[in-house]
């Protein structure tokens, strides 16, 4: 069966869930900047815990100094933005511990940063975490896998040119 799967599977660039939690459509993010796709198409995670992992093999393009967001250039060329919670830029880094720096090569599953979800909640901010492909226009095939609980072992976005 394995060879049949390979035979029929269109080659896609796969992105795994950056956090454990529930994967939901990007349109459910209560912030039009994300929900309307202004920053690119993607998915969002309602996180069960604060660890943020690399969704694919990539290079860290920019770890925001506040630690609330990180952008990656995937080895396949996709530009990925992970934004932990909403309006969390205003927390000035307090709930975030960063584990990688700009220019670092990372492997899928590598810990990028940790967020203290309770601190974000206590500040009254949503913890929902969008993961976007900033160069969405480069991918005519854009599949998302949402509506279920996921971990870093589950593909949530699959792209093809």
């Amino acid at each position: 069966m394995e060879f049949l799967k390979k035979l029929f599977k269109k080659k896609t660039d796969d992105f795994y869930a950056p956090m454990a939690g529930k994967a939901v459509p990007i349109t459910q993010v209560p912030d039009p900047t994300f929900a309307e796709g202004m920053l690119g198409n993607g998915i969002a995670i309602e996180p069960a815990e604060g660890k943020v992992y690399a969704p694919c093999d990539a290079t860290v393009d920019m770890m925001f100094t506040t630690g609330h967001a990180v952008s990656l250039v995937a080895d396949c060329g996709a530009e990925v933005l992970i934004h932990v919670g909403l309006e969390t830029v205003s927390l000035e880094g307090k709930p975030f511990t960063v584990h990688v720096a700009n220019g670092d090569k990372v492997k899928k599953g590598q810990l990028l940063l940790e967020a203290d979800i309770e601190v974000i909640k206590a500040a009254g901010l949503p913890t929902i975490t969008p993961m976007l492909i900033c160069n969405t226009d480069d991918y005519p095939t854009f599949n998302t896998f949402v509506g279920k609980d996921v971990t870093n072992e589950d593909v949530v976005i699959a792209l093809a040119k």
Binding site: T33, G40, M62, F64, E79, L81, V89
Partner: protein, 85 residues
């Protein structure tokens, strides 16, 4: 070519939201629009490049607008910056 200088007044600088809004604001124009900050230079249509500037409050940005619709693009860009950044 038109040039606009703008000092960021937003206390949070050019984070994801204003960068996304800037990309959307310049999208309708054919002109090439480039942003130079003390931290580097970026194409105003490229979200990741804009965010990488990590432009903070008080930093001066220089926008260059070059193309057939540069007059209109520069006028609208100036209005966008004043309202949003």
């Amino acid at each position: 070519m038109k040039e606009i200088k703008y000092v960021i007044t937003d206390p949070l600088g050019m984070h994801a939201r204003p960068a996304g809004m800037l990309v959307k604001a310049v999208a309708p124009y054919a002109s090439k629009i480039t942003v130079t900050a003390p931290t580097g230079t970026a194409d105003a249509r490229r979200l990741m490049a804009l965010m990488k500037l990590a432009a903070k409050q008080g930093m001066e940005l220089t926008f260059t607008v070059e193309g057939d619709d540069e007059e209109k693009a520069a006028t609208d860009l100036q209005a966008f910056l004043t309202a949003n950044l």
